[in-house]
């Protein structure tokens, strides 16, 4: 399937730039204070470590009261409401009604970006000068964020669960542009979703040595009427000997057939 656009037209870029400017004006959250020690690699912030959010974001990105399958949460969407196009809003409602069977998470499939970041399982970042490698516990997929000056590959055919990620540092903030998604993933357990036209721009920033502020702008002209922003806090796992334990739960329905037994 030929996918005609990665939203590189000027209008979309300007819109996104404007939304960033607004986001940084409004957020007002403090970066690591000047002089405060954060881990560094070759002078850049070193995000190596095992991270996880404590937020209820994955239950529902939007503010919600408690319900049978979710604790209450204040939401992580700036402005509280995801700006769906009318038809997409109908789909979201259907997804919500069917969430306990239709959520791709229930099949153990890779969660996508940004969901894999705020899903309540840990992920580990391994960092080199040329890239960051993220291994998520859930599904155990590998995502590479290239920081070697490359751009998204030319051509326009790939569809990835976790997209194609190109990052660069703006001061101490890692800015990552992510495109080339498939449309198999949801954004949370409440049926919020996207299409293969999703474009995510992430901003990773240390608040202190053990805390990351993670912001993302999501744009998808097939689903949303305008770009919108989310923000969560990620905490470093510091428990003694803490480590990822692979979670390939998509195998649980049939894994008992192996290996042969006497």
């Amino acid at each position: 399937m030929y996918r005609p656009s990665r939203f590189r037209n000027l209008g979309a870029s300007l819109l996104l730039a404007a939304s960033f400017a607004l986001a940084s004006l409004c957020s007002g959250s403090a970066a690591a204070a000047p002089g405060e020690k954060i881990p560094r690699l070759n002078g850049k912030p070193d995000f190596s470590g095992i991270w996880q959010t404590t937020s209820a974001a994955d239950y529902d990105l939007e503010p919600h009261a408690a319900r049978k399958d979710a604790p209450p949460g204040p939401g992580i969407v700036e402005g509280n409401v995801i700006p769906y196009l009318p038809k997409a809003l109908e789909q979201r409602k259907k997804n919500f009604e069917n969430r306990n069977t239709a959520d791709p998470r229930l099949k153990g499939w890779t969660l996508g970006v940004p969901r894999a970041i705020y899903y309540p399982e840990p992920f580990q970042i391994f960092q080199r000068a040329r890239d960051l490698t993220i291994v998520h516990q859930f599904g155990h997929p590998v995502r590479t964020i290239h920081t070697n000056g490359t751009q998204h590959p030319k051509g326009d055919t790939r569809e990835f669960w976790l997209g194609d990620s190109r990052g660069h540092f703006e001061g101490d903030t890692l800015v990552v542009d992510v495109v080339d998604f498939n449309d198999e993933t949801w954004l949370d357990s409440a049926g919020n979703f996207h299409s293969d036209a999703l474009h995510v721009v992430e901003r990773w920033k240390f608040l202190d040595a053990n805390t990351i502020e993670y912001k993302a702008t999501l744009e998808d002209p097939k689903v949303f009427s305008k770009p919108w922003n989310i923000s969560v806090i990620l905490h470093r796992h510091r428990e003694k000997n803490f480590q990822l334990i692979e979670d390939y739960r998509y195998t649980v329905d049939w894994e008992s057939y192996y290996p042969p037994k006497p």
Binding site: W109, T150, K154, D164, Y250, E255
Partner: protein, 350 residues
């Protein structure tokens, strides 16, 4: 059409298939170990193979030496490391690698194809054993895994039912997108090694091993994992890895050899000082399946920018958007290939 990242490869044990003409039922001759022509796939996905930065799937059609096969395992001695090192002192063995003798079709007779035909009858050999690659089993000397009788019977049963998996346990788990596990990941498709202070990462075609060099203890023994739990340290040119917590659900190949969750694997991954090759020497101890410990040796060579991407041993893509062109590994994720490898291969329509 929508194609899962990893789907194409699973479809070609022996023949190339056109992805655009896939019916719900795929039947293909299974035994051939020879490299399939990739023209069909190229025609099937013209947008993916256009001239340009993306060389990858099928890009090495024009004599690219797809699936080169060696017949012997060159010895690499354990000893000092004289090659380049990373800032933390580890030998720098990062990059792309793949096995040299065969894929996972046959564990003890690499290149020998499957031992039984689609009626469960022994296949006649098409070449002399001595003309094919040596067994991966380097101890005992007969090249066979010393299975206990019950386990040998299970292996034979799997092989005879491989083409017509009338029970779920006859489906090779890799055909369900299961991780390749240990040791098969080393001779499935090509893979990448990345290194960090405290870690060696093996990014396999399906599955990831995080080898801890950080001194943390093994996970509790009741936690069993597809890719097991790996604790390693460097001894000169050798990465010594202690492998426990193995669920052993990944079979060793289409010939169905296996271990149990009681297995302990001691790996010595010996790197040549010129950086061109390594051997995995893996000793399997499992008193519930084998009559004695045994050792597999898996020969591996490095792939570099000088090699052509071939969709099998070297699955990478050129990115020429930076200052200099670089090769990149793309995402490898596979979930819903709930099919058999044999003549009944069926995939769900989307």
């Amino acid at each position: 059409m929508k194609m899962h990242t990893n789907l194409a490869k699973l479809y070609w044990p022996g023949v190339a298939v056109s992805l655009l003409t896939l019916g719900p039922v795929l039947a293909f001759a299974q035994q051939a170990e020879t490299a399939p022509a990739t023209e069909t796939a190229k025609q099937a996905q013209p947008d993916q193979y256009q001239a340009g930065a993306r060389q990858g799937r099928g890009a090495a059609n024009n004599g690219g030496g797809r699936m080169p096969r060696e017949k012997t395992i060159p010895k690499i001695e354990s000893g000092k490391w004289t090659g380049p090192r990373l800032p933390d002192g580890q030998p720098d063995v990062q990059g792309h690698w793949s096995n040299t003798i065969s894929n996972h079709n046959n564990f003890t007779d690499p290149g020998g194809g499957l031992p039984y035909d689609n009626k469960g009858q022994p296949r006649a050999a098409t070449s002399k054993r001595e003309d094919r690659a040596v067994s991966r089993v380097t101890d005992p000397a007969d090249g066979q895994i010393p299975f206990q009788p019950w386990a040998a019977a299970k292996v034979k049963e799997f092989q005879q039912n491989f083409h017509n998996p009338v029970k779920p346990q006859y489906i090779e788990p890799n055909a369900r997108c299961a991780p390749g596990g240990i040791p098969k990941s080393f001779y499935w498709h090509g893979y990448e090694i990345r290194q960090y202070p405290g870690y060696v990462l093996f990014l396999f075609d399906n599955g990831t091993r995080i080898v801890h060099l950080d001194g943390k203890p093994h996970l509790p023994q009741n936690v069993k994992l597809w890719n097991a739990d790996s604790r390693g340290h460097w001894e000169g040119n050798t990465l010594v890895v202690d492998v426990t917590n193995n669920a052993s659900k990944s079979l060793f190949g289409r010939t169905g050899e296996f271990a149990s969750e009681n297995v302990h694997v001691a790996e010595r991954i010996v790197f040549a000082n010129d950086g061109s090759r390594f051997n995995v020497e893996a000793t399997f101890t499992d008193p519930t399946v084998y009559t004695r410990p045994w050792t597999a040796t898996i020969p591996v060579r490095r792939y570099t920018e000088k090699d052509k991407p071939d969709d099998w041993n070297f699955i990478v893509y050129w990115n020429d958007t930076g200052k200099t062109p670089v090769i990149e590994r793309h995402e490898q994720i596979c979930f819903e290939n709930n099919i058999g490898f044999g003549n009944v291969a069926v995939t769900a329509t989307k």
